[in-house]
């Protein structure tokens, strides 16, 4: 018995040696010492690194500069300043304008305009592309230049879209429409803190439609969606047909087309978001001349054509890159380039974005991603119970999307949300709880419908409040509706009231306890085509709320006077006729009667 075990032991040891030899043999033999090894700090993936390294090292530029190897370092953006300060980084490349602007703020980027070598290429790059800046100048110094552009749009899986009967989106806000609601959800978005590109799309809506309406769109769009936790996951889902529409970057969309021809990339009409992805020379570089050679190559016509390889599918910053051999092979990419260039982009307010972004992403994660199941359930209830055109639908979808913080509050806490993890956790916990409660109360919560019978017609005034609504009254003579709201003293009260536009219309004013309220401060007013909707907030006790219009349904409908006249006339004729008849009969001889 022991013999066999010994044999086994020997075999094991032999196996170990065999494998060791194989792997040592397979291990790459270290290349001879490089003359210059360039170090590039990047957020670009390894496929980009590989292609540019191989192609650049072949060029005369690299040979002249003595560059024989490139070391790629790809840590998260948060570590970049430390790494550049530590020295030895030659070039920074890819990671988005925000990251590079931050580096410029800390004086970690060199002035590229000082290098005539680079400027030859920079001058061939337009200053802007589809409204987005491709160069950043600070105090007269060029701190970065874009080395690629990308747009953000939808990747649509047409087969899945048709199977589930979805429309094709052409604008961001369309995705908030109930016609996109499916079970399971067939749209893919990414949790805001986990995708800068999706965050940008959400911010566009907040800036373009205003804080309140923007959040309503973002929330309902997310209620129509599955919330992924990374851009690649959402891309994978649309390729696999798990969802029909995903919000993606252009090169993801084009890549998706190649992996599954049922996919198409769609640029939102008049709402495109275009970004230039920077390259820059860093401070404390070990090989400044070599760094310049590399940047020159990346920005050159030849370098730019590398983006058009089928592994990358990125858009170059210079159009003449399409004239190169590689460029000639990609008319499809050129078409996307032209379409992107000619799109009207949304004017994006970067400074405003920076004032809000932490609050926005963490609010999204707490109130939408974490409470997603409750949100979807509430949205489903609203869609199933009410007609899309009804006031109740409008009221409830407004309530679902109503943000739990104002823009001013969001600005105020923005910095702390970014820097103080304890505060962030507390806030997120609060938002989550409030959101869940809100979603669970929609629409079963405090909806009331008050029928107003007037002139033989019934008009429904709908309220959705977190207060008790009593003493509802419609006064035709005062052209107003009024009611009392009561709630726990000190808490914030909210009441949305939808008034049919054929009951009360014209210029509106809202009063609380007889005191006029200020529009857009104490309340907001919107119109959905059939109802005027007022969103009023106050501090709870008991308040009398009055909404007054300038026009009101008349006491009698317009046809009543006519009818009355007709009736009076008829009555008059009848009476007159009868009188004549009476007279004639009374004059008749009695023998005849």
């Amino acid at each position: 018995m022991e013999k066999t075990h010994k044999g086994e032991q020997k075999r094991i040891i032999t196996l170990f040696y065999i494998l060791l030899v194989i792997f040592v043999a397979l291990s790459p033999i270290p290349v001879g010492k490089a003359q210059v090894t360039l170090t590039v700090l990047t957020r670009h993936a390894s496929d980009i690194q590989g292609i540019f390294e191989t192609e650049f090292l072949k060029t005369q530029l690299a040979i002249d500069a003595g560059i024989t190897d490139i070391t790629w370092r790809a840590p998260a953006g948060g570590f970049w300043p430390d790494l550049i300060n530590a020295g030895g980084i030659d070039v920074a490349w890819g990671g988005g304008p925000t990251l590079f602007d931050g580096l410029a703020d800390e004086n970690l980027l060199l002035n590229m305009s000082a290098s005539s070598v680079i400027m030859e290429e920079v001058n061939a790059i337009p200053d802007t592309f589809a409204g987005s800046p491709l160069k950043r100048v600070r105090d007269g110094k060029l701190v970065w230049t874009a080395a690629a552009v990308s747009s953000f749009g939808f990747t649509v899986n047409e087969a899945t879209r048709d199977l589930f009967g979805l429309p094709t989106p052409t604008k961001w806000d369309e995705l908030a429409d109930p016609s996109y609601f499916r079970e399971p959800q067939m749209v893919g978005v990414v949790n805001a803190p986990e995708s800068t590109s999706n965050t940008r799309a959400f911010e566009i809506m907040l800036q373009g439609f205003g804080w309140e309406t923007g959040w309503q769109i973002v929330t309902l769009m997310s209620a129509n969606s599955r919330v992924y936790h990374g851009s690649t996951e959402s891309l994978g889902a649309v390729i696999a047909g798990e969802v029909a529409v995903a919000l993606t970057i252009d090169f993801y969309g084009i890549g998706a087309q190649m992996q599954n021809p049922e996919c198409v990339y769609v640029i939102p009409e008049g709402q495109s978001i275009v970004n230039g992805d920077p390259i820059a020379l860093t401070a404390n570089a070990a090989h400044p001349a070599a760094a310049e050679a590399f940047v020159k190559y990346v920005l050159s016509k030849e370098g730019q054509s590398q983006w058009m390889r089928t592994q990358l599918n990125r858009l170059p910053v210079r159009e003449d890159a399409f004239d190169t051999t590689l460029g000639q092979l990609r008319p499809d990419l050129e078409a996307v380039y032209i379409e992107t260039r000619d799109q009207t982009g949304i004017e994006f307010d970067d400074p405003l974005s920076l004032l809000l972004v932490n609050s926005v992403i963490y609010y999204y994660a707490a109130a939408i991603t974490n409470a997603h199941a409750e949100l979807v359930d509430a949205w489903k209830r609203v869609i199933n119970r009410y007609d899309v055109d009804s006031a109740a639908f409008e009221v409830f979808s407004l309530e679902l999307g109503r943000p739990l913080i104002t823009m001013e509050e969001a600005m105020e806490i923005n910095d702390q949300m970014g820097s103080d993890p304890v505060f962030r956790a507390q806030k997120q916990s609060e938002w989550y709880l409030q959101a869940v409660e809100k979603y669970n109360n929609v629409p079963t919560g405090l909806i009331d419908s008050f029928p107003v019978d007037w002139g033989g017609m019934t008009y429904d005034v709908t309220t959705l409040c977190n207060s008790e609504v009593t003493n509802f009254d419609f006064s035709q003579s005062n052209r107003q509706i009024s009611f009392d709201v009561t709630g726990t003293a000190g808490t914030t009260g909210m009441c949305i009231v939808a008034i049919p536009d054929d009951l009360l219309w014209g210029e509106f004013s809202v009063f609380k306890d007889g005191v006029p309220l200020v529009e857009d401060v104490d309340y907001t007013q919107t119109y959905n085509g059939s109802h005027n909707i007022f969103d009023i907030s106050y501090t709870h006790t008991t308040h009398l709320i009055e909404v007054k219009g300038t026009e009101v349904v008349p006491e009698f409908p317009t046809w009543t006077p006519l009818m009355l006249m007709l009736m009076v006339l008829t009555a008059a004729i009848v009476i007159y006729k009868r009188k004549i008849f009476d007279k004639t009969t009374s004059r008749m001889p009695s023998s005849l009667s």
Binding site: E2, E8, Q9, I12, T14, L15, F23, L26, S27, P28, A45, S46, D47, Q49, G50, E53, T54, I70, W72, R73, A74, A76, G77, G78, L83, I89, N157, A159, T160, F164, E183, P184, R226, V227, H229, E233, S234, G236, I239, A240, G241, F251, G255, M258, Q259, N260, P261, E262, Q311, T369, N370, H372, A373, P421, V422, R424, A425, S429, Y432, L433
Partner: protein, 603 residues
Amino acid sequence: MPLGIRFRKAHLLEVIVFAFFAIFMLAPLLSMLAKAFPLNDPLAYFRIIFGDRLFWNPNLNFEIYRESVYPQFTVHILTGFDQGILINTLLVALLASSFSTLLGVALAYIMARYNFRLKPLFGILLIAPSAAPPIVSAIGLKKMIGISGTINLLLWRTWKITDGPWVIQGLAAVVLVEVLHFFVIPYLNARAAFTNIDPSVEETAENLGASPFRRFFRVTLPMALPGIAAGFILTFIFSLEDLGTPIVFGDDDQATKLLTYRIFQAYQSAFLRGEMVSGHALALSVIILMLAIVCFYFVRKFAELREVAIVEIRPRTFKTGPIKYLALHIFLVGVCFFALLPHIGVILLSVSDHWTSTSPFPNQFTAQHFIDIFDPSRGVFKATFNSFVYSAFAVAIILALGLSAAYLMQRTRIRGRQIIDLLVTMPIAIPGIVYGIGYFVLFFKTPISPLVGYSFFSLLVFPVLILSYSVRRFPFTVRSIYSGLQQVDTSLDDASKSLGASAFSTFRRVVAPLVFPYIIGGAMLSFIYSMSEVSTSVLFGGLEQAGGANFAPITQKIAELYGTAYAGIFLSAALGVFLMVLLIVFITLANMLLKRTAAITGV
């Protein structure tokens, strides 16, 4: 009275083992604990957590199935129910480990007790699920069982057996994937246990008139129970610490309501911002750590209660009748099919040129991705080599220390052996993400931090991953050797010593040969699980990503390829297949050398 080697040598061994774990396991954890309990208000983070409905939300909603009716078809949705992160985590672990154990024991009994021609094939197929890292298997599985996946397309649109697609999502999906992935652990354990049961005991039961049913439940099962219980615990803890599955099914928020996921999310956000991991996340790490350790402690106590003495090892097998033969094959084929679904998905993805969502199989096949992944610029060879080296070094450390530790624990009465026991088995209770965060906290913004210095970390990845693998995969070997020692009755030691052998030669010539399969089995498990380790590989290997640093292990490479824009899914699948093949080749080679199919005996 110490039974084994001399007291002083035993103490020296003890000190070495203890020091290793104190430095490489306890230090990171303690630094994490220190941060989770801030001095001025130690329970601040815990108050936030326990006040949060997200964390603790027991309710009466147990709905797991619903339908969504469309004009042409009906979508059937299987989902889980959300009871708050804490309950979800425990419930998922309990369900996953229970189902895995049931499945594993049934398979083990068949494989240990019946002889049939295809047994060697099934022997390999059944352990194949362990030969793929969770990231890739989950991608493959999604392609198979997704709403537009192969199975739905075949059953619904091609064969028209169902009236619409079946969708499994949320916590239900997490449980299913974990069962399919982890059943192999209780299977290996139970199989080793069944194989080692003294046949004479069962024969005696039979002679005394016990029915096969009664014999199984009254004799076989109780004797195998320590092994089965060990498998159950391991699966429970694996499920508790599983991160890959919740990530892949995270598109349903339910699947993200698990502890590991929340910790990972916080780590990721801290990492991207270059800041310290939030105290909130550290507190969550402490909770999951405590949970795992408490569970581990209790169930292990239970498992230790039943020690079975073995006198003779000669596995007992039965011949099968035709009906049993057929039933057995149907069962095995069924299990293998479902267990290998993720792998089938990964393989199909790896060879598809393009694959539309209306086609159950790739529209066009290609081998290009296998050529592409080995493009020198991608550094796949280097990553494979790295993984192999890290794992081999880790296994060497594990074997050296594991033998000592197991011996100390099982064969001596040395003081502090309970602590050693706790230390060496604890890594299994330490979720990878917690361990990773511990390292992050320990080194954050210190002079040897991977994140501040320029090239220092490139040097650091190498030992950090080896140590991480050796600590994390230590228990596989040590538990394996330990249960081996448990099965070898100490009367054999006594007999040897009474014949004049020294403690060392008793160990070398009597005990070691008897537990040899356990040593090799444990070492191989440690190796395989090191090669496919994800948590710390992705955390640390990912710090420097591909290209320059060249220290990334293979699992990190898979995660990275998945994130590349073009053909990312196909490329990562191709690399996944490569890793699978590598591991299967390794297992098969070892089996051939050992001339037995039951070489992997489990933990």
